[in-house]
């Protein structure tokens, strides 16, 4: 027997076959609002208790990203196979004037049935608009070829995966199957966006640039559950610097530059800190440090050189998945940098215990 699932905020319950008609009625009843949509935005979870929370997330996301939202929760433990559906609209005042609304269809699928997720998705898309799919949790057996071939963009969070190696293998297979057409966006990668931007900004400093060839230490500090995020950021530093991994001992790696210089990479874990709490890149005469206190929305960015020192605050990435998704949707693009970094990340990951 499945747990009781709250569906209060999902709107009006509807028969699955009557969804289109009911949506039409919904819009006819409200002439003052504009139905806007830039994409089909699907949120899928195999944790039915998240359905309500996901609806709240869509309410927030649609302030900036008008879409047709389709929320699907799969209750795979249910003995009886059935589908429940609801419709609603999330409306916001644009610039304090016009009411802009995004429609939302929610589904709760009970019981195991391999094709039902795919078919539910296919039947309720706005034609021609891109399909962005936020897959919450592990990429299960339902992440299958006939489904992912239709996706324009897949958003996931590898920090929630119990076995990242298997997850990334599935992901790479899917990308190969789609000939790279499906854009993949890992929220663990998004989580370090402002860290990476800050590193780039700090290395615009002439002293930091001069010291680049003498870097001998890189340190990443993160929460243990954000291991993939920390590894992705380390992989980015290694890749951009043109270094190679020589050896590993626990969470310490020995790297080598093209010129043969040795660099120590260290990952530290701090359960009490921010998801990613620190990145330090140090040379004997210059150090670049970016850090974040837990709960703080800013990154402390510092450069320490023998003749000068710069300290300033900059924006930090959101702690919440919905904030990261919103940032990711705003940035768009093909996420090609992530793909460039992926082989290096996999090398670090594969050597993981």
């Amino acid at each position: 027997m499945s747990a009781v699932i709250s569906t209060e905020g999902l709107g009006m319950p509807v028969e699955v076959g009557a969804i289109d008609g009911q949506l039409k009625k919904l819009w006819e009843a409200d002439e003052a609002s504009t139905n806007a949509s830039l994409m089909n935005f699907l949120v899928y979870t195999e944790d039915p208790s998240r359905l309500q929370k996901n609806s709240e997330t869509i309410q927030a996301l649609t302030r900036e990203h008008a879409c047709r939202a389709v929320l699907i929760a799969m209750d795979r433990e249910a003995s009886e196979a059935k589908i429940e559906a609801w419709i609603t609209a999330h409306c916001h005042l644009a610039h304090g004037k016009k009411s802009i609304c995004s429609e939302q269809i929610s589904f709760l699928l009970h019981g195991k049935s391999l094709g039902r997720l795919r078919n539910t998705v296919f039947a309720h898309l706005n034609s021609d608009l891109p399909l962005v799919f936020w897959w919450q949790g592990e990429l299960s057996d339902l992440f299958e070829e006939r489904l992912y071939r239709l996706l324009n963009r897949l958003i996931f969070d590898s920090s929630t995966w119990s076995d990242p190696r298997t997850g990334f293998r599935r992901l790479i297979e899917a990308r190969e199957d789609t000939k790279g057409q499906m854009v993949t966006q890992d929220l663990s990668w998004t989580r370090s966006y402002f860290y990476r931007l800050a590193v780039a900004r700090l290395f615009d400093d002439p002293m930091a640039q001069k010291s680049f060839s003498t870097i001998n230490k890189v340190r990443v500090k993160a929460q243990p559950e954000h291991r993939t995020g920390a590894l992705l950021m380390a992989a980015w530093v290694i890749r951009r610097s043109g270094w190679k991994v020589v050896s590993r001992q626990g969470d310490q790696w020995q790297l080598k530059s093209k010129e043969g210089k040795e660099i120590a990479l260290e990952l530290l874990w701090d359960e009490e800190g921010a998801p990613i709490a620190e990145l330090l890149i140090a040379a004997p005469d210059c150090a670049v440090r970016i850090s974040r206190e837990v709960g703080n929305h800013h990154l402390c960015q510092s450069i320490y050189a023998h003749d000068h020192c710069l300290d300033f605050s900059g924006p930090a990435d959101s702690d919440q998945p919905e904030g990261l998704v919103a940032s990711q949707l705003s940035r768009g693009g093909k996420n090609s940098l992530f793909l460039q970094v992926l082989p290096q990340f996999l090398e670090l990951l594969e050597s993981d215990d």
Partner: protein, 518 residues
């Protein structure tokens, strides 16, 4: 790619735009409204978005005897009011710690020598990179003094001791008031800074929809094949303002007029974006080469007869705007009661190129019109009247593609559709795209984009010397003809709150067309 990108491996591929480099930003006229309302909030918002390069220092240069603290407090106060993203104390504190005030008269050479000394100190504190961005936001009568004194203080030249460092200048409008004054200013600017380091700002080009004109034209296969005399009947560019001469603006405006204040720069820039050929690439000169060809191809209205036939100037008389009684132009604060300055202008422009031969571009700009709106409309030719002309009601007008620049940025397309029913009747319907509806996130302010571009050395959205001078050449001839006409052709009048003088309607009516109703 900026120079730092070459030696900074972390920059590569991180952002899909040119790299803005750390620099000292020196703002002349720092106590003015532009600095407080636009420039500092723009720099602040860049910091909020993580786009402001590390180590940017801001020096306000002005005559008033202010302290650093007083200057910062004033900036903070206004930033709280006008910033696009709100006000975050921590980001502000970080930015404000890099803001200082430099008191000097614009004519005082010593002030520039001490500025140079201070900039050298900042460079040392910052680690040696000595990029400088001078923003001339003062009243235009000081432009010459500022530029010449920058040169005397050695602030405009490349420094042999600083490899790869740059000194750039941003010049605010008005860039001259005639061709002769613009040429003089260009001589002074280019005698001080190289043309490639000169950024003549036209904030219209920083607006999202203005930038979208090129995307619409060249990234959508359906429009460009139709973007010519075969398919387009005419183009209208309207810049309507509901405000008059509030806030003491009459003093400046009465000397400038609508033609010089808006058409010479903003509206001719929009016209050139609409009419230009596809550039060979998106480099600054690639785009500007094509834009200047359009301005150069404008048929010159160089006799009083041609001007009378193709240009209408007007003034508003007392009327009613948004329910408020408003005075006529000549009764406005700081306006000469016998002023002959136009507060409204409408032009019929012809572009003598293969693409646009015979296609009129109607441009109008006016104060005290019913509402604030800047829009470009492309009026396509009507379909051959062989199928539907016998139907009741006939065929409605041709398709119209509208690009709304401000407010409510967006694009709409009017097309004809059958009315439901058993008879064949057609009505125009509107497909509408609103930036605000589709993208809830607010667009960066024009000044954010333009400041970042100047720090990155990307001059695509800035006017080049030849563009400015060609535009003045076109405008000057109209002005000269007006002066020659004297009072033979009286200035047209219209009640404030209406859509301009009758004469402007007749300008289109004689071509069998009407102004679009906004």
């Amino acid at each position: 790619m900026g120079k730092a990108g070459v030696s900074n491996p972390f920059r590569e591929d991180l952002v899909s735009r040119n790299l803005a480099e750390a620099c000292s930003v020196v703002i002349f006229g720092a106590t003015g409204d532009l600095t407080h309302r636009k420039l500092i909030p723009a720099l602040y918002n860049l910091a909020v978005d993580g786009e402001l390069p590390a180590g940017v220092r801001i020096l306000g240069f002005a005559r008033r005897d202010w302290t650093d603290e007083f200057f910062r407090e004033g900036l903070e106060k206004l930033n709280k009011k006008v910033s696009r993203t709100g006000h975050d104390d921590e980001i502000w504190a970080s930015l404000a710690s890099n803001v200082e005030y430099h008191q000097s008269e614009f004519q005082d050479e010593e002030g520039y020598r001490s500025l140079a000394k201070r900039l050298d100190e900042i460079d040392r504190e910052r680690g040696g990179k000595g990029n400088r961005l001078f923003y001339i936001a003062s009243a235009p009568e000081y432009f010459d003094d500022i530029l010449l004194n920058l040169k005397k203080a050695g602030l405009s030249q490349d420094r042999p001791d600083c490899d790869g460092c740059w000194s750039r200048v941003i010049v605010e409008k008005p860039f001259g008031t005639t061709l002769a004054t613009a040429q003089h200013l260009n001589e002074v600017v280019n005698g001080t800074f190289q043309e490639k380091e000169t950024y003549r700002i036209d904030h219209y080009l920083g607006k999202e929809t203005a930038q979208n004109i090129m995307v619409l034209r060249f990234a959508n296969a359906i429009f460009e094949p139709m973007w010519n005399k075969e398919h387009i009947d005419h183009v209208q560019i309207t810049c309507a303002e509901h405000l008059g001469m509030e806030g003491g603006r009459g003093g400046y405006y009465d000397k400038a007029g609508a033609l010089r204040d808006m058409v010479q720069n903003h509206l001719l820039q929009l016209l050139s974006l609409v009419a230009m050929e596809p550039p060979t690439d998106l480099s600054a000169d690639g785009v500007r080469d094509e834009k200047v060809k359009v301005i150069r191809s404008l048929r010159q209205w160089d006799t009083p007869e041609l001007v009378a036939e193709n240009v209408i100037r007007g003034q508003y008389v007392a009327g009613n705007v948004n329910g408020d009684e408003v005075p006529g132009y000549r009764e406005e604060d700081r306006v000469d009661p016998e002023s002959e300055t136009e507060a409204y202008v409408a032009l019929r422009c012809m572009i003598d190129t293969w693409r646009w031969s015979g296609v009129p571009f109607y441009v109008r700009m006016g104060k005290r019109l019913p509402k604030k709106a800047t829009e470009i409309s492309i009026h396509f030719k009507e379909t051959p009247s062989v199928l539907f002309n016998a139907m009741p009601g006939g065929v409605p007008a041709g398709n119209v593609l509208v690009m709304r620049i401000q407010p409510d940025e967006g694009i709409s397309l009017m097309m004809n559709s059958k009315l439901p029913g058993t008879t064949l009747r057609m009505e125009p319907v509107k497909m509408d795209f609103h930036y605000a509806s589709s993208f809830g996130k607010s667009s960066p302010e024009a000044y954010e984009r333009l400041l970042l571009d100047a720090m990155a050395g990307d001059a695509t959205l800035f006017a080049r010397r030849d563009e400015v001078e060609e535009a003045w050449r076109f405008i000057d001839k109209i002005h000269n003809a007006w002066e020659e006409q004297g009072k033979e052709i009286p200035i047209a009048e219209f009640p404030a709150g209406s859509w301009g003088p009758r004469e402007a309607d007749e300008l289109l009516a004689k071509d069998g067309r009407t102004w679009r109703r906004l």
